[in-house]
């Protein structure tokens, strides 16, 4: 158990030009292996390989365990290679399926690229890991992860925190087998980060969100597939996010935009969800916490988040509803208790209400055939029996809006107007309030397309659980508003009949290149919608 020998053996690639470590460990004695002596030649780095996505690997890269064979444990080589990296390092993981038995943490990396040989060619299996997250990038900027798969992480797959500039592409996070509660938490997980670009990834089997962006800003999530997770793609307490050209299938909820209470970044804004295929998200919800409340069979759910535009998506075959738009009062109905429970976070600007959600030009078909989920149980019971505004059993609304936050706001002092006293000056200046909804606050849905065959138009409905107009509201003996379960066919535009201004596109500046609809995708069809 002498480390000295192990260390020198591991530094097989002299291009790991960390003078620091080499000084510490002495001559590795293996320079020149494979004909590479690690000293940059005059001709510049030569291309030695290409990943399945076409990314070129050059001979000046740091090759981790290049001679490892399937099943080898490459933990130590990986830990050593990713410690104290030079700027703009290219770290190459070997081809094959390998075991990693510890979580890998990378600190303050600048310009780092970690690549394998392809999303199916380089697989790291963390099923026996003693750590929690498979990879965690803490601090740093301009970091790329690509062309590899992270399997069976004990907790999260790839977490990045406080990184400015994170690009994850052609990367998989997978928990194989059925979706179970002890699968890992988040798959791809940028948190408190800036300039986030997530594309061409595959997230499967997370017991929370497959692709989750939390408390971040300037975000593009595109061309990913999220399958068989509790939440497919989730944008939480984040601002300036574009989510487009993704596939969300087989999750409990397809695409989520949430603002949750009590977080350092108290609320998000300006989230655009467009041109995604969101279908058959009917997995049983095995999650815990707030995401555990997402009704199975939900295409899109907007929870207590404001300034969200959902357009030109294909939202089909979700058993409960295509799009649910709800305040936090559906999660916690104890309105009187909000001061105690959420006073501090409401001062920071978190709000249980949902405002300015604009749903247009989506194709909606074959949703609502088997609505379920504990959160919606009484609402489901009402719509699928005669206990709704139509007086007869209806196909569950494809567009479901709870309305209660808006009604309570519109009720002024009799509702939640008193919450205005909680809002701190900074949040108030940013427009957070509990006044009656202004036109700019409204939830609007128009120009959505009923994709069902003509005779079945009535199966695509819009539902309002509570009326938003105090004049039509009714109250129980305690003065609390009563649910009315309003419903009509979407095509009749009876409810949510308004428009909102379009939201601004997200801009990701990654290593001085602009990505998204104002950058490399300027000519993409989705960006013209």
């Amino acid at each position: 158990m002498r480390h000295r020998t192990k260390l020198s053996k591991l530094f097989t690639v002299s291009a790991l030009a960390s003078g620091l470590l080499l000084a510490g460990c002495g001559d590795d004695g293996e320079d020149g292996k494979d004909g590479k002596d690690g000293v940059a030649g005059n001709a510049g780095p030569a291309v030695v390989a290409s990943t399945t996505s076409g990314f070129t690997i050059t001979d000046d890269a740091i090759f981790v365990a290049p001679n490892a064979v399937d099943g080898d444990d490459i933990t130590e080589a990986l830990s050593l290679a990713l410690f104290d990296l030079p700027e703009d390092a290219l770290v190459v993981l070997p081809r094959g399926r390998f075991t990693v038995t510890e979580g890998i943490i990378v600190n303050s990396a600048r310009g780092l690229t970690v690549t394998g040989y392809g999303i199916n060619e380089t697989i790291l299996d963390f099923s026996t890991s003693n750590g929690d997250d498979a990879f965690r990038f803490q601090g740093g900027n301009g970091i790329t992860v690509r062309d590899l798969g992270v399997y069976e992480a004990p907790k999260n797959g790839i977490k990045t925190t406080n990184v400015n500039g994170i690009h994850i592409t052609h990367t998989a996070t997978v928990w194989e087998g059925p979706l179970e509660s002890d699968n890992g938490a988040y798959g791809l997980y940028p948190l408190k980060s800036q300039n986030v670009l997530m594309e061409n990834n595959y997230a499967y089997g997370s017991a929370d969100a497959g692709i989750y962006v939390g408390q971040s800003e300037n975000i593009v999530v595109r061309n990913n597939t999220a399958k068989n997770n509790v939440a497919g793609i989730e944008i939480e307490n984040s601002s300036m996010a574009d989510v487009y050209n993704n596939i969300a299938v087989g999750n409990s909820g397809g695409i989520l935009s949430f603002d949750l209470p009590g977080l350092e970044k108290a609320y998000g804004s300006n989230v655009r969800i467009f041109n995604n295929q969101i279908y058959a998200n009917n997995a049983d919800n095995v999650g815990a916490g707030v995401v555990g409340a997402v009704p199975p069979g939900t295409g899109v759910i907007i929870l207590a988040a404001s300034d969200v535009e959902i357009y030109n998506n294909q939202i089909t075959d979700n058993d409960t509803t295509a799009v649910a738009i709800t305040s936090y009062f559906l999660i916690d109905e104890d309105v009187a208790g909000y001061l105690v429970s959420y006073g501090a976070t409401m001062a920071d600007g978190w709000s249980p209400t949902v405002k300015n959600v604009y749903l247009h030009n989506n194709t909606i078909a074959r949703n609502g055939s088997a609505p379920r989920g504990a959160l919606l149980a009484p609402i489901v019971a009402g719509y699928t029996s005669s206990m709704n505004s139509s007086g007869m059993s209806q196909t569950f609304p494809a567009i479901l809006y709870d309305g209660i936050g808006e009604l309570l706001s519109n009720l002024g002092a009799r509702g939640i107007g008193g919450f205005n006293a909680l809002v701190g000056p900074e949040a108030a200046a940013d427009g957070v309030n509990y006044d009656p909804y202004s036109p700019g606050d409204l939830i609007c849905a128009n120009s959505n397309i009923n994709g069902n065959p003509a005779p079945e138009y009535d199966e695509v409905n819009t539902g309002l659980v509570y009326p938003v107009d105090p004049a039509t509201a009714t109250f129980d003996g305690n003065g609390n508003p009563e649910a009315q379960l309003l419903i009509d066919q979407m095509v009749n535009n009876t409810y949510l009949n308004c428009t909102q201004p379009r939201l601004a596109p997200a801009v990701v500046n990654f290593r001085n290149t602009i990505y998204g609809c104002t950058g490399d995708d300027l000519a993409d069809a989705a960006c013209a919608l």
Binding site: T75, S79, N130, G139, K192, G214
Partner: protein, 427 residues
């Protein structure tokens, strides 16, 4: 890794401290440097970095400061921090001062032996609530040793690892050394996992667990504060900091090797090692002593709350912190989690920051609806996370591979005694 008998070693370890603390000048023999000690400071004669490139193979009579400042040495002994290179638990090289914390991070029941080395001529500046301001050149050593029996610390112990925190000119730098043999500790950048270690706890139960020596990269997980990135052009980096040596944890008596029992802060101040200690000593914050001997049922309500708050602070708040006395727009690595557990945070203002009635954000577990349910520790996710060793859920994330039964008993009692909240009656 080796066994030693601490009692015997302790007896041998006194000479240096007699010299260092007795106020003598010119008593420059022993392990001190060739330089004559200057004045009566605790670090008189310790030497200091020269600013030149160091060498791991340099032979120095005192601390190998230059190597510490510039080199990652393969062996702990290269730095010459201990009079006896095979024993990092006692007898530091001239200038080293031992210290202890009144309440400490739990690390799988290990005993910890801490020393601070401040370059000669430099002093530590007092800070009322954050970690003390240590000058460039400061080195902190912490050695982890697993006792055969936690009721008999200092007896038979397995010395496992020694971690260094080095304050270099470009910031703090951490290095882990693993005692791979009896004779020396070797650099362990990739960490080390030791299977099936055992100890007997204070209740007389034998506990078996795997012990993990963290990787060098893991140090930042706890030892950093991270910038709250203010916009797309914000390139600030995380800042590495020590955690334990804050006034409130040092503000307790220590039994020095020469038999002196003295408050550590006053000892440092009177030894010209610490400046700025308030003359009104009563104003210095003090965290209570909590160790495995403390009888939790005997604590008053105030003592229980104070002990629990200190325990949560030292075990959790290096990550779970935001605002308060941090630099503007920095937070702990878990500052974004919604749970903040700093000693200085006012509970009444925001119980939710302590997890009270807060739904878990990331993860969560069925059967644990809220982080903290006052009066109901069994259903509180926070306590579950402190108890379990399941990697998906356990807290702290690192350096805990077995339950700290005494610590969880304390937090259980704290949750039991919190004032009832809206979720207290939840199923």
């Amino acid at each position: 890794m080796r066994n030693n008998n601490k009692t015997a070693v302790a007896i041998l370890a006194t000479s240096l401290f007699l010299a260092a603390c007795g106020g003598g000048d010119g008593d420059g023999d022993g392990t001190g440097g060739t330089l004559p000690p200057v004045g009566s400071a605790l670090n008189a004669g310790a030497g200091s970095p020269t600013g030149a490139q160091g060498s791991c193979s340099a032979t120095t009579s005192g601390v190998n400061w230059d190597a510490l400042m510039t080199e990652v040495c393969p062996k702990l002994s290269d730095y010459n921090l201990f009079a006896n290179a095979t024993d990092p638990t006692a007898a530091p090289t001239r200038g080293g001062v031992p210290y202890d914390l009144s309440t400490a991070l739990f690390s799988d029941y290990t005993s910890k032996y801490r020393f601070i080395f401040v370059p000669e001529g430099k002093t530590v500046s007092y800070n009322p609530s954050e970690v003390l301001d240590f000058p460039v050149g400061t080195v902190i050593t912490k050695t982890f040793a697993l006792p055969a029996n936690t009721a008999m610390r200092g007896g038979e112990e397995l010395v496992i690892e020694t971690r260094l925190l080095i304050h270099r000119t470009d910031g703090w730098f951490a290095l882990p050394y693993y005692w791979s043999s009896d004779s020396d500790a070797t650099l362990a950048i990739a960490g080390k996992r030791l299977a099936n270690l055992t100890t007997i706890n204070n209740q007389g139960q034998q506990i078996t667990f795997d012990y993990s020596v963290p990787k060098a990269a893991d140090c930042n997980s706890c030892h950093s504060i991270v910038p709250d990135l203010a916009g797309p052009d914000d390139d600030r980096e995380q800042i590495f900091l020590p955690i334990g040596p804050k006034a409130r944890y040092l503000n307790t008596d220590y039994a020095y090797a020469d038999g002196t029992v003295y408050n550590q802060l006053q000892y440092w101040a009177e030894g010209d090692l610490l400046t700025g200690l308030p003359s009104d000593f009563q104003s210095v914050e003090q965290a209570p002593v909590f160790d495995d001997q403390v009888s939790i049922p005997s604590l008053s309500a105030d003592e229980l709350n104070d002990a629990a708050r200190a325990y949560l602070d030292i075990n959790c708040a290096h990550c779970h912190r935001a605002g308060l006395t941090l630099p503007v727009d920095y937070a702990g690595p878990a500052g974004s989690s919604g749970v903040q557990l700093e000693y200085g945070r006012d509970y009444a203002t925001d119980p939710g920051a302590f997890g009270v009635c807060k739904t878990p954000v990331a993860g969560g577990k069925d059967g644990y609806p809220f982080d903290v349910i006052p009066g109901n520790p069994d259903d509180s996710y926070l306590l579950f996370r402190m108890t379990t060793v399941d990697n998906r859920h356990k807290m702290p994330e690192l350096a805990r591979n077995t339950e700290h039964q005494e610590g969880t008993a304390l937090i259980r009692s704290w949750i039991d005694n919190l004032p009832a909240a809206g979720c207290s009656t939840a199923p």
